[in-house]
Symmetry: D2
Subunit: 379 residues, 4 copies
């Protein structure tokens, strides 16, 4: 396999970001793995497909999914469409024997996700998920430290993903505010990221309890319109979670967190150490080593701001010590996927990660309705 | 009233801190209100009482509460004993017609608190509570901003009070780990502070839901002992709270928050603004004004670190612009109490604040048992 | 002009970074200006040139500068060679009628820079410089604020660019440690950036005074060698500077600043406001508005962390509110250059900026020898 | 010696702060050293002296220095008068056989300081200086680390003490702006602190070079007056310094540093480690240990925020883990002095520290006039 042909389905904001990744990877890791080849792009209309191809350098374009899948040189389908179209696109790709790279969330709910997972297993294709925050060097370091036992027994954690910008009630309804299109609100959009991260770092969830809230119940159907339509998703959600290890966590998401931009943060407390991370200050992992001496005026205890800014191991660019941006984490997620595909291995994050996150979302929404603790499904 | 005679009951760590406040106030506010006079101190044993008097400058000492209350020149009883002795001391003081200044929490539970409140009303004495964090200039400024409407509708908040230091299972049992002495664990000790603060800033609680955890279930009865006794209080607690205004909050306390020292922090999200505070960085209030222009490259939005370090209005010392320490907040709490007593007004924080905090604690513990939302009593 | 053909000379670390920029720009600003076309690359040896072409997607490659300049479709020469080769490459490019985009510093010294400037003026080509830090949104905002008069009279500033990593005396000699190859040490490499930035923000320099230091005077000629050769450049330098406006500044650079990575920071004090910036926390500009009310407990003064993270005006990607990385600033510098070339305008930063920075460097080195204040040349 | 009788001369802002210290010390260190006894206070007028005595609890008061010195029970004279009166007060105290505790600076200049030093030596009294920043736990820890060799060879440092508040040209002239009263401006007032600190941490100065600036040359003689008088001191000063060890430092002071409050900060770079401190964030020492492993994604390097907030060794109050305020550092400076007096030892900081700081100030002012490097006197 000399190059890996990428066929992208959907080319909105996230399609553009994935395209950047494919274009940049050869300069980040020159000669290190089969280069992605931008084979084709498919969007809902011919004119947007053509524009996307021209902009990002795809060799072909179409508005017909089946035509896309029939093109020669397509190895991977990159699924960048809205959530309610995931299942259709992915099942078609699998049926055509294509590997899949899927922007989170995997599907609209656990049932759909399970259907996709079974099809992928039967189809024998490689399946990668975008959970790009796993690829922040600080997060990778956090996982190393936890796996090494540096924190010991995990007592508890607090994790949030806060956005703002929905405060204005005149902001019109978009598909993300309609459950039938998105599968859920802030909990799906933001929550899926921190749910995956805490599972990546701390292991499986056992049960969750959740409260959700919708602050603005109706919005204009379009900008300036007097016609209102109901918002059918959550604007904010608060979870309590128990993990299989006994760790207890609280997770919060909101689109009404005034003063935040892209505030994914967590704090993890263990018997022998603790960790802190903040996506708005992403170049560092804060680590507290409680095994260091603590006596007054000779002590060495304190939060260390670990230098995880130093680029990725083996990367030729950007130069070490320069700060990294958000798009770089997508490229690294894609690199991990392409390496796995080239090596014939299961990509990580992959199907199981998409599936399990979906099960936690299902349990959270069920709890928000019942007011009870809900056990998280496992398969 | 030229001076106000203080009789302190109990002289442990907190008695010493209150004493510092009484000694310092005349230099903070020279000539501004009736100076506290250290009339007498009462502890459980004559020798500790005498040592306390000598150290802090009390004019008299005794180990007999009734003797203390019979001394001439005692205007105020400052209650610094462990929680399970509050009721007895306070009721005796009220019966003797003394004003009371009480270290939090008011009592062991809501029932005791209610009994105290009725006695104080009948007795007609002034009653002040120590909720010293209300007197951090940054918190005072937060209250000003919220009252001015700068934040608009409050959507949600997150507040924590994290300590560490209980991780070692060989740390022996102390009275704070026995419910019959303390009334509760981290939730009482740390939680009462943030429960009061959020009420001070955001108004009354309507209902709460709570999970508690005890990590180390048995501990040595004393240092080095092989004999273990059960820990009967919570090590950590996680609350969800609904306020009367509709604001939703999450509150967390822990004595197992590795890497923390005295980490009282909160973040409040409102329609038009937001606030952040951190007790380990106490000289600033972080304020986000969402009404400022936001357009790219001309914007003025961003968290402002308000200069609340500038001492207290009217204070002669320390000089403005120098940072303040934790003990200063106690002195300021005492100043507010003494000013109220001298003016014949109800001290704030006072009985109602002690009482309401106790009701939230009761509701939280009830919820931790039942797993349900529990409505907070109001009187 | 539909596309702009780029011929790159030199393809080391910085050539790769410039290539990333050219590849990414069409997705940052789709359809907004003539797209860069990677026409050809020239390095010292055929095999490295071929590898560079393959990696970055240049259409042609060569190790012969004249052959490169003779290729059809070359509009711009991007100069990415070491400092001592700048003059030769640039003069040849100008002679061939090519526009030039030059990585800083412009040349080895002021005399060379002046020669280049004259040739460019005679040749009538557009000349752009890489001073990529000008393109950090926070710096762009700083310039806006200063130009708007928000700071008033500038009293003084402090600016540093600290690196580390030279502490080990066994680190072998490289071209950056030899004056005849580099034109100078830390002052040239790091200093040129902050010298340009302070000129960009605060106007022309009038005179400077400088101390330089070389900590390790001899180093192995190559890794592991016993043969030592002299280090002929500065490891650190400390400048005092007077600007034409009367502002006084101190500038510091070091490659021995233990604990730093890419620490470009400054603090500017004006009559009515102040600014702070730190490249290791690059997504914010810290701004202090001294015109806001300051009275105790009603004050609004304090450092505001302006949200300059919100991407570039008009940029389609990355999405607003996500943090940006270091390479993005290079792409933006290239975008400004390409826009100017397409519009037939003088690029900014351009020749004058390269030239003036060189004059400050000359004056600083002269002062380091004489111990006196040295007036900065202006043309 | 059961108690140590304190006679304070001068009771302005700093006299009040020293008084707080004497009053608080018995509760910080119960029973640990001879308690200070507030014997008498002397100010320029009887009525202010009486008010001071009443406020702070001095047993006696007078406006006659000789009367003060003749009082029984006076062991120590605490010199809190303006700089130009230091010599007279101190020489009288020494002549009367009293120990001296002197607020910085020691005198108006090196000549006066030398005269005082000789008199103290002849008189055989103990002499303590107030350099209270030495007693911030973070600074004490910095000294420990440097003395332990943790930083290795010191390359360079940058230290500042920034104030603001003089920007308004209508602010009237005070004694601090008149050289004949103060001995100098920002350099004396703020500079003496960082000059002492860098000497305390890094050893003796060898030579300095200095630039000073006066921004507002004339000011109203009193608030609202049209009559202007010249400002005869520096508003800001920039030093370059070489220490005997070869370390090179830059020191900056300003009263026009907009946006600062009490910003004493430094950053020290050594071969094996580095330190940072900021007085506005005084509860931590930032320490970088370059001996820790640095490889990507397994590294442990990074700035550690050492927990120096944990109160003072042996202190009974405030409780460990609570943040300390500025006045506490004065109390600790006084404690060190009183312990030395009680033990019959030379107080540290003492005469030599006052003297050497004065010599650096002299050299800096000489350099500001000559433009040359000036060697610092040593005795």
């Amino acid at each position: 396999m000399d190059t890996i042909g990428i066929a992208m389905v959907g080319y909105g904001m996230i399609g553009r970001v994935h395209s950047l990744g494919y274009r940049d990877l050869p300069l980040y890791y020159p000669g290190q793995f089969p280069a992605p080849r931008l084979a084709a792009v498919c969007t809902s209309r011919p004119e947007t497909a053509q524009a996307a191809a021209q902009e990002a350098g795809f060799a072909a374009w179409t508005s017909d999914l089946n035509a896309l899948l029939a093109l020669p040189g397509v190895d991977v389908v990159d699924c960048c469409v809205p959530n309610d179209q995931h299942k259709e696109v992915i099942l078609a790709a699998i049926a055509a024997g294509k590997h899949v790279y899927c922007e989170k969330p995997l599907a609209m709910n656990g049932a759909e996700a399970r259907e996709i997972a079974r099809a992928a297993q039967v189809g024998g294709v490689h399946f990668g998920m975008t959970f790009n925050y796993r690829f922040i060097p600080a997060i990778m370091r956090a996982r190393q430290l936890i796996e090494s036992g540096a924190l010991g027994q995990i007592y508890s954690y607090h994790a949030v993903f806060y956005h703002s910008g929905y405060q204005d009630p005149n902001r019109p309804l978009v598909w993300r505010m309609r459950r039938e299109r998105s599968g859920g609100g802030a909990l799906v959009d933001l929550g899926s990221h921190i749910i995956d991260l805490m599972r990546y770092l701390l292991g499986e969830y056992e049960m969750v309890r959740c409260v959700t809230q919708t602050y603005v119940k109706e919005r204009p159907v379009r900008a300036g319109s007097n016609q209102l339509a109901p918002v059918t998703v959550d604007d904010a959600a608060w979870l309590q979670a128990r993990h299989a290890t006994g760790a207890f966590g609280t997770l919060e998401v909101s689109r009404y967190a005034t003063g935040t931009l892209d505030d994914l943060r967590f704090e993890i407390f263990g018997r022998h150490g603790a960790l802190r991370f903040d996506l708005m200050d992403p170049n560092w992992l804060y680590y507290y080593d409680a095994s260091r001496p603590a006596e007054p005026l000779g002590g060495e205890r304190g939060w260390a701001r670990l230098e995880t800014v130093q680029s990725y191991p083996g990367a030729a660019s950007p130069p070490a010590r320069t700060v990294l941006g958000w798009t770089r984490t997508h490229a690294e997620n894609q690199a991990a996927f392409l390496r796995a595909v080239a090596a014939g291995q299961e990509p990580v994050p992959g199907l199981i990660d998409g599936l399990r996150t979906q099960f936690v979302l299902d349990a959270a929404y069920a709890s928000a309705e019942s007011g009870e603790w809900v056990t998280v499904e496992t398969e």
